[in-house]
């Protein structure tokens, strides 16, 4: 065990810090509005131009071949510098790992560079009006088309930033006879294809961060299929694991938020109730706990260990921690929370989505009980 960072890791951190401190934009508006999204894209393109957009990817795609530990370091520095949400996250963190694992060389060459450069913007088309936590009840369907491609029909919803994106990845039923998890296929679809209608709608905070996507006889070619036909569930679960685990919400976000909370407490310590001091420390310790649990987990992954269903524990922990951090900040702000413009109220509203997206925390607790603890399914 050596809990010091290596000289290489420290040098990487220093390089990250120097560039991010110099270049990170301040006070960008929400990326979940049309105008804000455009400004975030400028930031994403600047990251890409300096090879910071996808540090863990191979250099040929604009990355730096960063090790998993270096990627965690980049994330710590990114959020420490006050970096904004990554509006490209669904592509670079969720679809990309799946393409690296299941994509053909042609698909990798076609999709990854444009994704890294924020030229193609990907949204996730999993949820449907009747398929939320029960993702396997997906009804949108794909049928063989006379042209040799596929004809897609159906409706996706709760699609994050769908109204601003250019492409969608999602599951479609290709074998109508098959039950639930079988007979699904993973498709990558351009949103400008004829037959697609995208309608944005407001989230809890009013921003147009959600969209419905209607597919009406949309024709795509065979290379829109990622992985094997009818094997989409297994392909999708690889992405789900990434989403629940590290890649989407690494510890750096939460240690940075905890540091901001500590600063807020210091500003208000004279008038803060003693219970809030305890709550601030608790949230701070939990952020540290997530950080060290992650270093332990990543060490095991690098050594080739399969972490199985453990990301479900991570997902529950960070999503509930995020709420604790923001609730504590709002309590410190007191009546000023109502008109807060420093990000705490906005962050609180967003934190409330954490226990819902990427598989509700109730589903995750079932997974932990059955697949980590080994309790009986029935």
């Amino acid at each position: 065990m050596d809990l010091n960072f290596t000289a290489t890791e420290e040098a990487f951190r220093a390089e990250c810090r120097a560039w991010l401190e110099e270049n990170t934009p301040r006070g960008l508006p929400s990326g979940d509005t049309r105008a804000g999204f455009a400004l975030h894209l400028e930031w994403e393109k600047l990251l890409f131009a300096n090879r910071w957009a996808v540090v863990s990817w191979p250099e040929e795609y604009g990355g730096r071949n960063a090790s998993p530990m270096e990627w965690l370091i980049f994330e710590e520095e990114y959020y420490r510098a006050g970096g904004p949400q990554r509006v490209t996250q669904n592509g670079i963190f969720l679809l990309a790992p799946t393409i690296f694992e299941f994509g053909t060389p042609a698909q990798q060459a076609e999709v990854l560079p444009r994704m890294a450069a924020a030229e193609d913007l990907w949204c996730q088309g999993w949820s449907e009006p009747n398929a939320g936590s029960d993702l396997a009840s997906t009804r949108s369907r794909a049928e063989r088309d006379a042209s040799g491609g596929w004809r897609l029909n159906g409706q996706k919803t709760w699609t994050t930033r769908g109204a601003f994106c250019t492409h969608l990845f999602g599951l479609f039923r290709t074998d109508p006879e098959a039950q639930r998890h079988s007979g699904l296929t993973y498709f990558m679809v351009p949103l400008d294809a004829p037959g697609i209608t995208v309608r944005g709608f407001g989230r809890l905070d009013g921003d147009e961060g959600f969209a419905e996507v209607f597919l009406d006889d949309v024709v795509v070619t065979d290379d829109a299929v990622l992985g094997e036909v009818d094997q989409g569930w297994g392909v999708a679960m690889a992405t789900a694991s990434a989403e629940r685990g590290l890649t989407l919400r690494s510890p750096g976000r939460f240690t940075a938020t905890a540091a901001r909370l500590v600063n807020l407490y210091r500003e208000r310590a004279a008038t803060a109730a003693p219970a809030l001091r305890d709550a601030v420390v608790q949230a701070y310790i939990e952020a540290e706990a997530y950080r060290w649990q992650t270093f332990s987990t990543v060490t095991r992954m690098v050594e080739g260990e399969n972490i199985g269903a453990e990301p479900s524990m991570t997902k529950v922990f960070w999503s509930e921690l995020d709420i604790h951090l923001h609730e504590t900040a709002l309590a410190l702000l007191g009546s000023a929370a109502e008109y807060d413009s420093t990000g705490w109220m906005k962050g609180f509203e967003f934190s409330l989505s954490g226990p819902i997206y990427a598989g509700t925390n109730e589903i995750q607790r079932n997974v932990i009980a059955e697949r980590v603890l080994g309790l009986p399914r029935k």
Binding site: M1, F5, V281, Q293, V298, N366, A369
Partner: protein, 329 residues
């Protein structure tokens, strides 16, 4: 950054685990609380024979010459088994403080310790030590510094612990009879805190294992109760608490082993999270067991009561959060 134990450290842990399965079953723990005169358990003698009591002592005095990282896994296992003797006080706190630890390493002498927050000038708390009757000497804290009081200078008043197996007693002694312990004193308190945190992790694992096993076999409404989501979610919460407390305990052990200047801070984070994980798991385990868990003949209470006691002593979670606050805020 490489957060993993060595093969040797894992091998030592496994050897201790095997020893305790054999020598420290629940019946042995139970009998430690029931015998009229205290005696060393078979497990204690076997651990001494294995050399485990001297993990932190140098090889030239008969120790294993290892570090807090080796010891933390050993102590976690002693928590899992609810070893009756105070091995944290003895092996983690006292042994590194003694000029001549030979008798302590061989197990012919047991050195107990009071909790350092029980200050000698603090009239609110009595000076309490576990296994005090068996001890040859006790480490006490005077002006926050460790000092050793020989057993023959102490008048003991036996107290009944909620955890009978701890055999605690109140210590009455003249502070003048205490010899200050100066070598390695700076980390003695933190070593005790991390050691107890490790035992709390072991206890958490034990209570979870017991409950998962019970919930997988106990049937109601024709199915195992562990198939009900209400039960699953209780136990998932306990498993999550374990998952995120454990790395802080190992990290604190690393900080002790590497003389990190923040070792005390890291120890406090570890104890706060491990104590809370153990208390949460204790309540979830009892609830998922139902009435059988509430009975004296069933073993859960052995581990649950130990968890209550260890979570509260050497600083509760709230105490340690207050200390973290003093550093961080």
């Amino acid at each position: 950054m490489h957060f993993a134990f060595t093969d040797d450290q894992i091998a030592l842990r496994d050897a201790v685990r095997d020893l305790l399965v054999k020598e420290c079953p629940p019946a042995a723990v139970r009998s430690a609380g029931e015998s009229s005169t205290p005696t060393f358990s078979a497990a204690w003698r076997a651990l001494a024979e294995m050399g485990v009591l001297g993990v932190l002592a140098a090889d030239d005095v008969g120790g294993l010459g290892l570090t807090d990282l080796d010891l933390v896994l050993v102590l976690e296992e002693t928590g899992y088994a609810a070893l009756p003797e105070p091995i944290v006080e003895h092996a983690a706190v006292a042994v590194p403080l003694l000029d001549d630890p030979t008798a302590a390493i061989t197990g012919s002498e047991l050195i107990s310790a009071t909790a350092p927050n029980d200050q000698i000038d603090d009239q609110t708390d009595d000076q309490i030590a576990p296994s005090a009757e068996l001890a040859s000497a006790v480490v006490v804290w005077i002006d926050k510094q460790p000092a050793l009081v020989p057993r023959d200078q102490i008048k003991l008043v036996t107290y009944e612990s909620v955890d009978h197996t701890r055999r605690i007693a109140r210590l009455d002694f003249d502070p003048q009879s205490a010899t200050p312990l100066t070598s390695n004193a700076i980390r003695a308190n933190a070593r005790g805190v991390v050691g107890l945190a490790a035992q709390l992790i072991g206890l958490t694992r034990r209570m979870l294992d017991l409950t998962v096993e019970y919930a997988s076999t106990r049937k109601q409404f024709g199915v195992p109760i562990g198939s009900f989501q209400a039960v699953k979610h209780h136990l998932a919460d306990a498993r999550i608490a374990l998952e995120f407390a454990r790395p802080l305990v190992y990290r604190a052990a690393w900080s002790l082993a590497s003389n990190d200047p923040d070792a005390e801070l890291h120890a406090s984070m570890a104890k706060a999270m491990a104590g809370d994980a153990a208390l949460l798991t204790a309540s979830k385990a009892l609830q998922c067991h139902g009435a059988i868990g509430y009975s004296f003949e069933y073993d859960l209470h052995l581990f649950m009561k130990r968890a209550w006691v260890l979570a509260g002593t050497w600083g509760s979670s709230a105490d340690h959060r207050a200390r973290v606050g003093n550093s961080v805020l």
